[in-house]
Symmetry: C2
Subunit: 540 residues, 2 copies
Amino acid sequence: MLGQMMDHPLLISDLLTFSAQYHGDTEIVTRTVEGPIHRYDYRSAARRSRQLAQALARLGIEVGDRVATMAWNTHRHFELYFGVSGMGAVCHTLNPRLFADQLTYIVNHAGDKAVFVDLTFVPLLEKLADQLQGVEHWVVMTDGEHMPDTSLPNALCYEDLVEAEDGNYDWPSFDENTASSLCYTSGTTGHPKGVLYSHRSTVLHSYAACMVDTLRLSARDSVLPVVPMFHANAWGLPYASPLVGAKQVLPGPGLDAPSLVELFEQEEVTTTAGVPTIWLGLLQHLRDTGKSLGTVRRVVIGGSAAPRSMIAEFQERHRVQVVHAWGMTETSPLGTVGTLKSKHEGLSEDARLDLQAKQGRAVAGVQLRIVSDDGAEQVQDGEAFGELEVKGPWVVGRYFRTEGEALRDGWFPTGDVATIDHDGFMQITDRAKDVIKSGGEWISSIDLENEVVAHPRVAEAAVIGIHHPKWDERPLLVVVAKPDDPPTAEELREFLQDKIAKWWMPDDIVFVDELPHTATGKISKKDLRVRFENYELPTA
Amino acid sequence: MLGQMMDHPLLISDLLTFSAQYHGDTEIVTRTVEGPIHRYDYRSAARRSRQLAQALARLGIEVGDRVATMAWNTHRHFELYFGVSGMGAVCHTLNPRLFADQLTYIVNHAGDKAVFVDLTFVPLLEKLADQLQGVEHWVVMTDGEHMPDTSLPNALCYEDLVEAEDGNYDWPSFDENTASSLCYTSGTTGHPKGVLYSHRSTVLHSYAACMVDTLRLSARDSVLPVVPMFHANAWGLPYASPLVGAKQVLPGPGLDAPSLVELFEQEEVTTTAGVPTIWLGLLQHLRDTGKSLGTVRRVVIGGSAAPRSMIAEFQERHRVQVVHAWGMTETSPLGTVGTLKSKHEGLSEDARLDLQAKQGRAVAGVQLRIVSDDGAEQVQDGEAFGELEVKGPWVVGRYFRTEGEALRDGWFPTGDVATIDHDGFMQITDRAKDVIKSGGEWISSIDLENEVVAHPRVAEAAVIGIHHPKWDERPLLVVVAKPDDPPTAEELREFLQDKIAKWWMPDDIVFVDELPHTATGKISKKDLRVRFENYELPTA
């Protein structure tokens, strides 16, 4: 027997209509690509998004068509989020930091029919345009005055397009499972894969994002997403903010610390969100200038693990609460958030920081579990670890236009190895492909590396698994020593002896001059594994 | 084109599973009907709910069957909320305060197959049992020791039933639109009507309930719902609390002020919710004893309008934030909540209270509009009024087993007349059936009455519409004067002259000794209209 409540689909356009109606005069402030600050309100943003939808229809964009954006966080990008999805098309955010061949692959694989591009990225796309045969329309996100001379075929001007329409447009209603947006995730191997979000997943994620123990958004907040709108929906903030009527402050291309601090001050920002790299620069700037964070009350840190010292500096020096979050493009992205419980109120500052340095507990609606190689669920005691799997209404089900299953037994395997403690706090201890599988048990390469680099005469270290005839894999430690007084292998073994389980001790230690790194500065385990492909352990 | 996210239904059982997993040791504390305080945690509550589901299955309860409860707010009632809905049956909460014939009608109309009853209400149901032929099982919600000698046929003992099962039970998964629970609303005319909630509507309502600008629930809250679980889902708190892992404090039958204050203190309650009548008694008790509200930070007031003076006393004397909410059984029930915006931060205390005394702004996901008699949407300027209509995923679509449409043009007409201001704050000004429709314009009976009772020599007043050949209806003012020095009709007209629009002036004023009242003490306009059915206005 079915319930008899209204059949009311969860649609992205409703988020904007809601804020236009009940928070019509709440502001959206943008540092534009052209330079000046632009400000308008939700009522105007809603009207302009409807005009955009009309313009898209006039261009021949139909329900289900992919419309790409390559753009900073601006009011025009916000209008695209709602105008494209609201009319039933798919808003496909392109990451301008990808390599040219990845971008070409992605645009062609997605079958993008139109591309909206910020002035900044016009030169980048000009170089690729002749390989992007499916793109019928190129739209430069600027006004007539700033319209560049470009080789993009028949390039249109965003403002001309929008201003030509009257905004008398009713958002269509349709199945809430309709595709709304698309974001590709570039794995370390193979082609990038597309996550195709739905209106339903996006609206549900918005509710979860706003909750007190998630990002705690309300109509009294002024939100500045530093995280780009081309990164996993800017963590859902462009959708969550209109749901509660929060003011939005969009930094455009100005991601340097002085520009951010200026907006924090001028727009009375209460909540901001970004990756650790951004905050390193910001904290340095604040130390250098002696400036404060003013009205900022919460800093959301995600994208990669927030160092404990960073959390401490925000909280102790700046009296700003850190919200440490974990997620993936495949999880919309919010998966876990490190908000403390009442039982933690009595903890020492040190113990609180330890807890906050973990990835946090499941956002309401997300299910987590850790499983061993054979799929057996591990206990959640903060000690046992296994590959992290997630489930929930805003978790990917299949990759777009890709053969093969994204799920394993109904769960999405994240590729991370983690522990979960009694209170549900999850901590990532390794990548699944980096963990060393020794006799059916797992050894965390990251834990081992952290112990080794604590040695005062070690500059850098990496641990990889090497094939072993008896144990399947055993750890090999690869070390870059500090030049003056390098430690011996024996010294390192002694150093590790009382810090790790006996069976975690590397079977061999190799000293090298340098380790291979990825473009983003991480140690490339992939390259290291290639280099030691045929290495034979002395224990083999 | 559909999105490709997980197909993950929104199910009530997931709320409990979530809290059991991530907030397993968070407490649920009950003042039992038997007397003592009972305490356990979400992990135990989840296990006991699974045991209950097993017991229900053993009794022959199947998917879609209605299982009624007549019970206070206790841990057993909480288990029924989850055990019954979780297994796919329908949890039907009965209001013990209804008249016997209403209860008989409701149980038979719903087709309840089992009734779970608290000790308190066993005598009440014993009198009705032989008219409730469809009920196959009577279960008394107590343990063997307290099991009464009862004439309820084959009465079972709740604890015996639950303890006989092992809890090794997996909640079934099904369509999220499956019926989950049922609550009847007793209108002033006709039979009570049933609202049949779904898993989807309940879970979505839970997300909305927790939000910062709604009830602001988090894992750090201790929530005491005074509002009964037989009243519109206790405003959603039994579902919302496990979603965030909030501690729950259930007052059982102890709704008197001293019992509540004792629980506030002992259980460090942060949030409580109830109707104005409860708070009148509580505030009086606090004045009498000089006690404080301790850790309580928020008091949710709903069910009927919170008087401005009550809001002021909570906020000024007790430094407790009042959350003034409006809703109906048909809206799950949360429709609007009076949380202020940042623009209101600079307001004087008086101006804030004026705003807080309104019914508030739409909960995220609810759409409101006001329409005139001919269905035309009215402007939202805080002045224009019309009948309030609502829309949203947790608003009723049809009444259970009832002919005829519950909706009008896709909207649910609330029967209330309201204004909505620029910021979305809604204020109920009248009941639609009480408003006076004069020449196509509406006159608020409540506004007129409020002006009249401000006269120092008026004890009570009511305004009703009387048929008028030209204007359709015109207002008749019916007054109970204070005995000593009654005002004349002319004096009242003069008194009103500069307070109301000229065309609002009543066409006649009648003095009576007393006005008819309802059982709950309100003026019965219905009886008054009968009494003046054939009244002829002097202007006719």
